[in-house]
Amino acid sequence: MPKDFKTLMLTVAAPATAVVFALLFSSLVLLLAGSNPIDAFADMLEYGTRLEVMVDILNRAVPLYISGIAAAVGFRMNLFNIGVEGQYSMGAFFAAAAGGAIVLPGFLHLLFILVVAMVVGALWAGLAGWLKVARGVNEVISTIMLNFIALGGVIAALIVPWRDGEGSLNSGTKLIEDSGLLPDLNWLLEIFTRDIGKSRELSGALVLAVLVGIFYHLLINRSRLGFDLRASGMNPMAAKAGGVPPKQMVMLAMVVSGAIAGLVGMVDILSRAGRYDNNFTPGLGFAGIAVALLGRNHAVGVAFSALLFAFLSASSSILQITGSASPEIVVIMQGIILLVAVIAYEFVNRIKEREVTRLASLAVEGADA
């Protein structure tokens, strides 16, 4: 299978180029700043492969992955859902508030919280979808505006009355009872290796991420609906002629994207804090877009890119301690990886296009002879 092999090589070459470029460029930056890049990268590699840190990396990769898949659902349909940021914050906030307000027996409590998160995320994304199909408002603009309205308006307004009465001004929503929290997965690792010390735990949200990934793969690649979605994204007019209503497809893509986005904050809410508070992680929505682009909207590709980004941010904290470089270098690296990767993908696409044209012309010549 030489042809398939070539395609695979081209696909892998693009992200590999991106990583190499990022290493080279950030080395240059570090040299200019008077640090030794080799020391810095060696520190990161050594630190990032410790068991405890690997647990941390997995915990960081989970929300990135879910956020990436949420963005990817839109991308597959040529929709730019820039609003994952607002959708996951809204989902997490309402889910935390609802989960803290009531107690249900056992597993139901957890399920209830997850459903609230997904429904709220889907509604917030659906608003942007409705604006697009009913009012012709571009989804990039409307989702950016909705991000600010969610964080600066809705959450800022409701956090005051919904705040847990006792305690300082900084406290978040009411703590969720244990029945609503995600169990940790430490036992899974401890089967294979030693105990995970230092009070770290592997978040149960990993299971959520895996389920989301499988769902995404089946939906897009193995279902009629996914086929309709992709067709409508490639050419809405042609798809409409084939019986796929474009407006419904836009609504559907936004709602599914938003529902998945609602789960992004669950690591924070259900494994770390037990509530929505000031330490809730911002910026996962934009990072998710980066991860989706780097992973080419592919269920496994996005997983790799989420792990890469999580590795970079988790292992950078060692730089502060050893002082071999400024930890912010990893944010620059992430940006370069993303930018070079999308350029490289564009490049590979053009090579593939040319290959297809060449093969087609060969076939035509063969038919003539």
């Binding site: 930056v29 700043a33 730019f80 820039i82 604006l131 009012r135 012709g136 408002v137 990039v140 603009i141 409307s142 950016i144 505006m145 909705l146 600010f148 309205i149 600066g152 308006g153 800022a156 307004a157 934009f286 990072a287 877009i289 980066a290 682009l293 400024s326 912010e328 270098i329 990893v330 944010v331 620059i332 992430q334 940006g335 370069i336 993303l338 930018l339 999308v342 350029i343 564009e346 490049f347 053009r350």
Partner: protein, 417 residues
Amino acid sequence: MKALEALNRMPAWARYMIYALIGILVLTVVESFESGDVSRLTADTASRAMLKWSVPILLAGLGGLYSERAGVVNIGLEGMMILGTWFGAWGALEWGPTAGIIIGMAGGAIGGLIHAIATVGFGVDHIISGVAINIMAPGATTFLSSEVFGNRTQSPNVPGVGQFTMPVLAGGDIFGLETPDILGSIADQEIFYLSDIANFSRGLMSEMSLFTVMALALVPITAWAVWRTRFGLRLRIAGEAPYAGESLGVDIIKRKYQGVIISGALAGLAGASISMELADFYQEGQTQGRGFIGLAALIFGNWKPQGILAAALLFGYPFGVSLRDLDGSSTHALLLVVALGLAAVAVWAWTRNAKSDVILAGSFSLGMFVWYLLSDTAPDWLPNTMPYVIVLLVLVFAAQRLRMPAADGLVYRKGGS
């Protein structure tokens, strides 16, 4: 209806003056309903703060105009603005305020260049490249800040730029000579409406920073450069019909590069105006999404400089009012203004027989009105959120009336079709 037709026949500047006069009339009437300190909505402090807070939005919006008129969507404005905040502060600290302005623009222009290389040179999707720049820029400035200032979040205090007060009208000096303050004396008479106009305009003309003067000057300059020069014609053909332009011998690639780099420089200037003028220092996250508001102003202003100015002032106004509004009563009065605005939209929709618009605008207006009646003060988050809500409302009711450049956001490949 005849009045509306007459309005449409007027030149743009006259029309905007009339809109402004109507706006001040509405504010004057509304503030007379409020208890407490009544003249805050039309005070010179409000209009001065409005102008000051509008400047970064206006500059970012104008930046967006150059890029999108050349056919490149620029959601990286926010990132380029962040670069401008750091480079502006750094330049001002090292070599003084003028250098700060230039280096701030250069910093933004680097962001623009990267965006141009990715989108124009390599044909990467414009939104994707913009997102990448927005992710990269804060990392770069945080890194630079920790390396150069030794503090990852903040710089030392930055020397400010000079101020300017209009002579004669607002009492500014001419070569050290004092001049009368005509508007100020009218304002002191406390005549209904007339004094409000005088006081409001006085705020716009006094204690303007250099950034304000530059930003306001850039509005007519942009209108002239993009619509009245050869450069502008070629820039616009790159955004409207690049392949037609190519067949006429226009170097589309070059024009797109120019547009996006100018765009970055103006976004950088917007960033520098935040760190050097609004805050007096660089701080992490200090743009607070104003690049995105600038983008919204560009759309709201229908990709035209005078429209962007109107939008920037409109978005800056709630900030300007809230700054002096410790008890929240003035911001509260703005609820009534928004309710009246939406009611006007509903009436306008009624005349066009657009039923769904009437119902939507009418119910929003009613909701705002009820909120106004049931509360005494507005919450502190309201002024920050208002610009975004206004943009969404405008898009909901006027999306079909806006017209972006025909080839905006499309990837251009030389010799393609």
